[in-house]
């Protein structure tokens, strides 16, 4: 701390009152600031706080966040920090242990397993990807072929699929989104989406945009559906818990949490909680499809 040394040196030398006063002010500032830095290091010293970090998919995030809230309500000394980042980050941060638990809304890729063979995947929920349009849009059913043509830019007006004469505003997700990866794998068959697609970085943003834009089409996880947007039947099937579970709704996927190596200690405790009846009830309440019995 050269600054403090300089201060001390000249505090001794200083004789005039004004300088002393000034020095005092500066000194106090320096001390406060230094204390601020060290206060961070020392912290409160509450030894038995259990801290878990969870990062990744914004689709899985509401489930984990609500489970974390419920768990923290019961266990006062737990701090579960949930942050987004997308599925790729979820896989990566679990693998590199920058987070204790990763969240992903897509399967772990073969390349990722090859790089980190110790990854363990836990399915915590199933999900359908609902295709949504504005509430004033009369179109209520589309075939997967239509959706593919809309997302690849071949169909550009609602008229072509039985709607009003209105340009289609295609809304999708950012490039690292697991939701986008799942959707495009099932619907687009490895083709690139149209370059006029608006990119949004979360399910919520896609839904907000579709809700505000009369010509928009988008896709979100079942958990994000509400009456601000209209869900379109895909190949004449409306996405529901039943149609996703029995496989008749075509655009479905699983939601995962990922650990590096076998889950142990607090990590296992929390994952078990998510898979418990109470946790699965949260899955259901959040609008996703439980994979186990619910309370």
């Amino acid at each position: 701390m050269p600054l403090l040394w300089v201060l001390g040196e000249y505090a001794m030398l200083s004789k005039t009152k004004k300088t002393t006063k000034f020095l005092a002010a500066f000194g106090v500032l320096a001390v406060v600031v230094t204390a601020g830095i060290f206060a961070g290091c020392i912290g409160k010293g509450g030894g038995d706080t259990v801290t878990l970090t969870v990062a990744g998919s914004t689709t899985v995030l509401p489930i984990v966040q609500q489970c974390a809230d419920a768990y923290m309500d019961k266990h006062d000394n737990w701090d579960i920090q949930v942050s987004g980042g997308g599925s790729s980050v979820g896989v990566r941060s679990a693998a590199e242990k920058t987070a204790d638990i990763g969240m992903s809304s897509r399967d772990v890729k073969a390349s990722e397993f090859a790089e980190w063979p110790s990854l363990e995947v836990h399915i915590i929920a199933a999900d359908g990807l609902a295709v949504i349009v504005h509430n004033n849009n009369p179109v209520d059913s589309l075939s997967t072929d239509h959706i593919k043509k809309i997302y690849t830019g071949i169909i550009t007006n609602w008229q072509e699929v039985g709607g009003a004469n209105m340009p289609i505003v295609v809304v999708g997700r950012d490039s690292n989104s697991g939701t986008r990866a799942s959707f495009e794998e099932i619907v687009l068959d490895k083709e690139l989406p149209t370059s006029s697609m608006l990119e949004k970085n979360s399910n919520g943003a896609v839904k907000e945009t579709v809700a505000q834009t009369p010509g928009a089409i988008g896709y979100v996880g079942l958990g994000y559906l509400d009456n601000s947007v209209t869900t379109v039947a895909v190949d004449d099937v409306i996405p529901t818990t039943g149609t996703v579970l029995d496989g008749s709704y075509p655009i479905a996927r699983n939601l995962f949490v990922i650990t590096n190596g076998e889950a142990k200690g607090p990590i296992k405790e929390f994952i078990d909680f998510m898979l418990s009846k109470e946790g699965q009830k949260i899955v259901k309440d959040e609008g996703f499809i439980p994979v186990g019995p619910t309370a």
């Binding site: 961070g40 701090d79 920090q81 490039s175 690292n176 370059s195």
Partner: protein, 660 residues
């Protein structure tokens, strides 16, 4: 480096003490040590810029081993996660250029008119009020602009212009135009005010009217300064991230034709902001984003260099350092074109404004009226009436600044106020921020800023002292100045990338409070250096000479004579930095913050919540989070503006009290 120089000093001073107990020698060594320490502070900015460049290149380098540079620059598809990955950045680069061009078209006429009005026409109280409004406008955090743009502006564009979507090039340009205004107005106003009295008086004495003096004498004389102002504003616009990312739609395409402003586009900063937080480290996508950051950084670097060159030449001609280099000779034709473009832009803006309020037929009528009036005016009307018209236009432009500020403040305050309550401020968030309070975000922002200042203040003040008191004009000072200016111009998202690459990954700090504090600290460093330097320079030379003549050493003079009167100035700079650091999102969003946390951070290696990031999350990721977002935006604005207000008050008191 610092501790070792300290040790060396202690060792030498002890050695001196034992051999020769002359206080003089000790003092001399001490002076040298202080000099060395201050020099390190000053050169620090240069080192940081070098490190930023180094780390951007280090991380981008791997891309070009796998991907051709030509495909990167000229490719028109940005699809980094597909097989094979396509990393064509052309649309993104041009997207940035187009949004910035649009912003400048809107911003330049308004800003310059306001600058002229403030410096030449407004009575002191009014110009004080306008300056305050502009300062407030510059104090509104970027994410709040984006939030306002997303909630209000994009819907307005979609409905008014009957477009499929309002998230367009135009929305980005309007938001950036507003954000660039404070920079352009402030620098242009300085340039116009700096035009010598004699020119003005000479012109008036020759019988020119006030308007003729302004338009034919003062503005042309200040033209280089005005150019620099525009260029600096452009630099600010190109590098802006959060607001642009939230309103331009982020579609990987270019307008067809180029003038179709209702096209959703994607910019370089928007791409970086959206993708860097979600990209797996080490992938080709990761390297591609750093390559994109290099393009952005170089673009801003060129723009700022240009402004630097122009401003320095102005300084040289004003001091008159022998070298009578003519600035650039601006041919009269260019000046004329510029003037007409200015008038045309202002006219277009007024036309759109009037048409929006009263319908297009009225707008066209008014336009025709004005055009015929101008023709009559030019040929028939008296100078006095011409003057009234010109002054009327200028005051209207200035009024628009106040109106814009008013609209934004009103929107945020009216929608944010119902959310505010004691619980909102003091409780922890629940249900992803839709319920509960924002205490961890307030504390997080506070800690981030505190740490940033703790780091930047000593270094910044040290550098300021070195430049003002020790440095001699020459190559070293030039390099130091260039370092500081470039650091100042570096886009905040680039700081974010650097913080991510250097602190989080390279130094292995992880996403943490300390990494955020250091990143923000680097970002505010130039502000502190500059304000310190200005404050020290404003202390009259006679005081230093008096002190030195009485036998005080150089450092004693600085410490006891020069710094005390400059102290309020330094404090002002610090407070401005606090405001700036507190409102930033882009630099910390992948360096320090977390989505939601109930507990406060317990060590500097924890992630923290922060207010600006929370606004961003509530606006874009949490369904139904918008009302709450307004509440957080209001709290953030109150905090930031309170900082700016405090700085303004201190400055004013200081100005009043100081009598040399």
């Amino acid at each position: 480096m610092k501790p070792s120089s300290l040790l060396a000093f202690v060792a030498t001073s002890m050695a001196l003490q034992s051999s020769d107990d002359s206080e003089y020698k000790i003092r001399k060594v001490k002076e040298k040590a202080i000099h060395a320490f201050l020099f390190v502070c000053a050169i620090f900015s240069v080192i940081v810029v070098a490190f930023i460049i180094l780390f951007l290149f280090k991380n981008a380098y791997d891309l070009f081993a796998q991907y051709s540079m030509i495909d990167f620059v000229k490719g028109d598809r940005w699809a980094p996660t597909y097989e094979p990955a396509q990393l064509g950045a052309w649309n993104l680069i041009m997207g940035s250029v187009l949004v910035t061009t649009g912003a400048m078209t809107l911003s330049i006429p308004l800003s310059l008119a306001t600058a002229i009005f403030i410096s030449q026409l407004a009575p002191p109280k009014l110009s004080g009020f306008l300056k305050l409004s502009i300062e407030l406008l510059s104090g509104v955090p970027s994410v709040v602009y984006g939030f306002f743009g997303l909630m209000v502006l994009t819907n307005w564009i979609r409905i008014k212009f009957d477009q499929p979507t309002g998230e367009t090039l135009l929305a980005g340009s309007i938001i950036l135009a507003i954000m660039a205004m404070p920079t352009i107005i402030t620098v242009a106003e300085d340039a116009i005010s700096a035009v010598g009295r004699e020119l003005r008086e000479g012109s008036l004495a020759l019988g020119a009217t006030k308007w003729q003096t302004i338009s034919r004498t003062i503005v042309p004389a200040a033209l280089s300064g005005i150019t620099a102002a525009v260029i600096l504003g452009m630099g600010r616009a190109v590098g802006e991230t959060m607001a642009v990312m939230m309103v331009t739609g982020n579609a990987d395409q270019l307008p067809q034709p180029w003038s179709n402003v209702f096209t959703p586009v994607k910019t370089m900063t928007g791409t970086l902001g959206m993708e860097i937080g979600e990209v797996p480290y080490g992938s080709i996508h990761f390297h591609g984003l750093f390559a994109l950051a290099i393009v952005l950084f170089l673009m801003v670097l060129c723009i700022n260099m240009l402004a630097r060159v122009i401003l320095r030449r102005i300084a040289e001609t004003q001091i008159g350092t022998g070298k009578k280099k003519k600035l650039f000779k601006i041919p009269p034709a260019v000046t004329n074109v510029g003037k007409h473009a200015l008038v045309g832009g202002a006219g277009l803006f007024l036309f759109v404004l009037i048409s929006e309020w009263f319908g297009y037929p009225v707008g066209i009528l008014v336009l025709l009226g004005i055009v015929s009036f101008v023709i009559i005016n030019r040929t028939l009307l008296k100078q006095k009436i011409q003057e009234y018209l010109a002054f009327g236009t200028l005051s209207l432009a200035s009024l628009s600044v106040v109106i814009i500020l008013g609209i934004i403040l009103f929107d945020i305050v009216s929608k944010g106020l119902p959310v505010l309550s004691w619980e909102f401020l003091t409780e922890v968030p629940r249900d992803m921020g839709r319920e509960g309070g924002i205490k961890p975000a307030i504390v997080g922002t506070f800690l981030l800023v505190l740490g940033a200042i703790a780091f930047a203040l000593p270094v910044g003040v040290g550098a300021g002292i070195y430049i003002s008191e020790y440095a001699k004009e020459g190559r070293v000072l030039k390099i130091v100045r260039a370092g500081i200016d470039n650091l100042n111009g570096t886009p905040s998202i680039v700081f974010g990338l650097f913080g991510f690459a250097f602190f989080v990954l390279y130094l292995n700090m992880g996403v943490s409070l300390i990494a955020g504090q250091l990143t923000l600290g680097l970002m505010v460093l130039p502000t502190i250096i500059r304000t310190t330097e200005e404050a020290l320079k404003s202390v009259p030379q006679a005081l230093r000479e008096g002190s030195l003549a009485l036998g005080a050493s150089k450092w004693q003079t600085i410490w006891r004579v020069v710094i005390p009167p400059a102290f309020p100035g330094i404090i002002t700079g610090t407070i401005l930095s606090i405001g700036r650091a507190g409102g930033e999102t882009a630099p910390i969003m992948f360096v320090a913050v977390t989505y939601m946390s109930r507990k406060l951070p317990e060590s500097i290696f924890d992630r923290v919540m922060s207010l600006p990031y929370m606004i961003y999350i509530l606006a874009t990721e949490v369904p139904g989070g918008i009302e709450r977002g307004y509440g957080v935006a209001l709290v953030l604005m109150i905090l930031v503006l309170a900082m700016y207000g405090t700085a303004a008050i201190i400055r004013q008191r200081f100005v009043k009290k100081t009598r040399w």
